[in-house]
Symmetry: C2
């Protein structure tokens, strides 16, 4: 298994394009992702009761056994909370894209991200789709172009690719994602698109995607808000030529799950690192949990705490707030067995051991906390389960971006 | 029922005092509240698995049938996450206070608020308690002094009192509370202390307190963090001379519940209004819920959303974020029946009706949102249940207060 260049166009038989069609002021805002041949598809979607029109459409076209060919993604407008008219706009997007590419509307998945509650400028999208479709090509830079077009407040583009060998065939997986506010996925994620030339059954693709999402995108939090438009879509077109994976016990399946997980973890961490206003990247690592579910809940509770996040922004090793955040996580544990430490490139800081606070050298603490990447280590001493969650600090910029964001 | 001056010393037979003993730099930091005679007591405590030493002590001394006489509250240090030594310090506080007043340590409830994870300066408290005890008196200003001493980042003192007549006897209820960060009570609250000269059984006092806390302190949110030290304590000494209330169907009990609720709602709103960094006070009002529990969950989800809070700070009537926050509230509802509006002294703003967005005049919207008190009205059209939740916006100052708070 090795990391290779590129993103969604790294696997065989995928084309992409991204361009500016006028939804945002200057930057690219419309992307198409196309498989040359029918692709098996799996999707995981937001658990928010309020679902954007694109989520409703894409759930429909990916839930049956039919393959899909394309994904259309626009940024700038989320087409969410837009009523029946919003859904009609979404259908219009699928129809226009299908016409421009020469496929059926049901073969087109749709994702939208941006302002909610505002009608999407459908005319600009309908006019723009043929232009973007005419730019579709399989170069790595075309993948990057698409990854650029799906950004909203993201500070950097998120794409990654991995290669592995399955029974003598080279299989490639690529992915792109965007954050970076309203990120507190629950079951699904912000937007993530995975492509692969692997040959795999729909059932196993969905199983692998769900398993991986639970411990990657679902373990990041930027602001505790679950979007109405989150989705992760995986498209696999089989062009690698490997024997189709249909058995969960097949070693190839396990290898694919590992590779897919690596792609998703990379993208999830990139989204956390690029959280709105973030000045620090935080990993919360829990060991000694009674079960994985408990450890996950606790890790998520710490990474989501506003008080932990502001303490990190203030470069303060405030393990008391970490302990309080653990305590509100909805899981019983024994505070008297708890150990807590902070860690960064500058060193390791033990703060509490088995429920007893340790004396801390404030100079050493400040040095550890001044780094950009901070890890919070927690040992529950209650079992053998572990979990990791990723997030960022809470800064003035988060408030600025979300309090004064209208153009 | 009428509002009267004062706070915890408004009822008969209560003394109070507050002074500076060196836990904070300059401001008052130690308070004592004393009933002249034995008082029936009820307490509601944090649901955080990690409980501060004072919570453990006070739960113990208030959970049996014995009356208590005094409450000692310090600000500056929370004595939480301080291990076995912290609990010893708490016992020492009770012993020192009991000695200074001339009662037993088990008759003293303790509450602490401030930094967590740092040993409490017990010597300063032990030296300060006799001084504060010597200042105890029953004037209204003594109550205010105590209310001042329990503040941490609070911008203003929170106290209130109400009088009612029960079978010809005048009964008074007084209260004081403090916020203003780490406020997202769950089952209990930040710190709230209620005094009354009413004569009531312990069982009914606890029932009334629990019922009232559920729809007052538990319906406010400042930052989504549940403290390790939250508590609400009610002391009733019977000096009003009313026939003891022992029956839930007694009309006097219903009147007491109403009055207590009014006290708690006043204090809870004051805590929300004084949320760390708050520039606006927000009431979320939900009607048309299928059941009260659902309506409460949804109101709490909206008032807690970082994206709704930053939008309010930005004076933006972003009802899309309100809708998204409803959707992540853990309650099923039909978005197509939803109505949402904003309201303030400057007017009423209808934004969505039965799932369809309305066109909004941006000038009118800005005028409504520029007020300090904002109300968000939501109709679920699913039943007859209602709920209200209170909070504040999320400002640069919240980040400053919590990211750079060390002296």
């Amino acid at each position: 298994m090795k990391i290779v260049s590129g993103g969604v166009t790294a696997p065989k038989g995928f084309k992409a394009a991204g361009a500016h069609v006028g939804l945002k002021r200057k930057r690219k805002d419309l992307a198409i992702l196309l498989s040359d041949v029918d692709a098996t598809v799996a999707g995981v979607f937001t658990t928010n009761v309020v679902k954007g029109a694109p989520v409703i459409w894409t759930q429909k076209v990916t839930s049956n056994d039919s393959p899909i060919r394309a994904v259309v993604v626009n940024s700038g407008h989320a087409n969410s909370c837009t009523g029946p008219q919003g859904y009609q706009h979404c259908v219009q997007m699928a129809e226009s894209a299908a016409k421009a590419i020469g496929i059926a509307p049901e073969e087109v998945a749709i994702a939208s991200t941006g302002f909610i509650g505002v009608p999407i400028p459908i005319d600009k999208i309908v006019a723009g789709l043929p232009v973007v479709a005419s730019m579709l090509n399989s170069s790595l830079s075309a993948g990057t172009s698409a990854a650029e077009a799906i950004r909203t407040t993201d500070q950097f583009t998120k794409e990654t690719a991995i290669q592995l060998e399955l029974n003598g065939k080279v299989v490639t997986i690529g992915g792109m994602a965007k954050g970076s506010g309203m990120v507190h996925p629950n079951m699904a994620t912000m937007l993530a698109f995975i492509t692969s030339d692997i040959n795999i059954s729909k059932e196993l693709l969905l199983a692998a995607l769900k398993e991986s999402v639970a411990t990657t995108y679902n373990m990041i939090s930027v602001d505790g808000d679950t979007s109405t438009n989150d989705m992760a879509i995986a498209m696999c077109n089989g062009l690698a030529g490997n024997t189709s994976i249909v058995d969960r016990d097949d070693e190839s399946y396990q290898l694919f799950v590992q590779a897919l997980h690596s792609i998703n973890e990379n993208l999830a961490k990139a989204v956390a690192r690029d959280g709105e206003g973030a000045t620090k990247f935080v990993e919360v690592s829990i060991v000694g949990g009674e079960c994985a579910e408990d450890a996950q809940k606790l890790a998520k509770s710490v990474v989501s705490s506003s008080l932990v996040k502001t303490a990190l922004f203030g470069q303060d090793a405030n393990w008391g707030r970490v302990m309080a955040a653990l305590g509100k996580g909805g899981v019983l544990f024994d505070p008297a067995r708890l150990s807590i430490g902070f860690e960064s490139e500058a060193g390791v800081l033990a703060l509490m051991e088995c429920g007893t606070p340790l004396s801390v050298d404030s100079h050493a603490a400040r040095k550890v906390l001044s780094e950009k990447d901070i890890r919070i280590n927690i040992d529950l001493m209650a079992g053998a389960s572990a979990a990791r969650a990723w997030g960022c600090d809470l800064s003035y910029d988060y408030v600025r971006i979300n309090g004064a964001y209208r153009p």
